[in-house]
Symmetry: C2
Subunit: 141 residues, 2 copies
Amino acid sequence: MKITSRFTVAVHTLLAIYVFRKEYKTTSDFIASSVNVNPVVIRRTLSSLKAAGIIDVKVGCGGATPVKDADDITLYEIYTAVDCVEGDLFNFHEKPNPECPVGKNIHAVLDSHLADAQTALENELKGVTLADLMKQLNILM
Amino acid sequence: MKITSRFTVAVHTLLAIYVFRKEYKTTSDFIASSVNVNPVVIRRTLSSLKAAGIIDVKVGCGGATPVKDADDITLYEIYTAVDCVEGDLFNFHEKPNPECPVGKNIHAVLDSHLADAQTALENELKGVTLADLMKQLNILM
DNA sequence: TATAGTTGTAACCATCTTGATTACAACTAT
DNA sequence: ATAGTTGTAATCAAGATGGTTACAACTATA
């Protein structure tokens, strides 16, 4: 099972907003044509990013604008904004048998290691900012 | 989206096999009652673990037995054995627009960071062995 | 050899999540 | 007043998951 593409869509969306903010009105249609998904998908993404305080979206008039500096937006922040994972990354079987010594203690034994793995992933995402991506992008563009 | 419980089921399954190998015949029914899932789910898990060379399963007679030493089985090995994630952990939107400077370069900019995050998670799983879990379990049992 | 217990696997199902899409009310710049 | 846009509900098809039934094939044992 994979982590939903909402995450990469959101990153792409933010890059488009921050890169084109001067030249274009970054509407859901505009962004959708770069990401190549349905505009409604982008509007949902924009909603999440707005709720997270990362961008502002102008109702009626249209267009998304940055609220935070690109240096202060980490991939982790985007990842949580679009609810890729709610709570634990690893699913756990529901009801291990408490009558069995293994079933009774499986959570005690395993939970911390799963949490460590999830934290390692999240820390990596915390180490990359939107500004980092924009720097890389500027070299390529 | 979360990582399938096949992983925790497989870890639980292996713990049951390694812990009870002397006292019980570890059949799919026996393990299923500890994990509390359908025996067929356990048989599917056993198939995967067997294909990965971690255990041996006796057809007909019944019961699973260890092939490798618990010290040599990492959580990562179990994780890959049951195909929790095929290839990339992060889904990527299919066809970013190559006509757009952002769409054209989004993979170049983002892929390595996603790979780093996935690697961080996997490395964490590589650092824990079944023997580690058994040690913790012995203290609790 | 006959039997009982077990594995391996196919088949089917209900549920959930996802992303696509249509539709439309509400809003705003011009 | 109009055209363009957002916000959001509703619906849909597709895919993954885990549960379950069923049964052929196999093996230890009596």
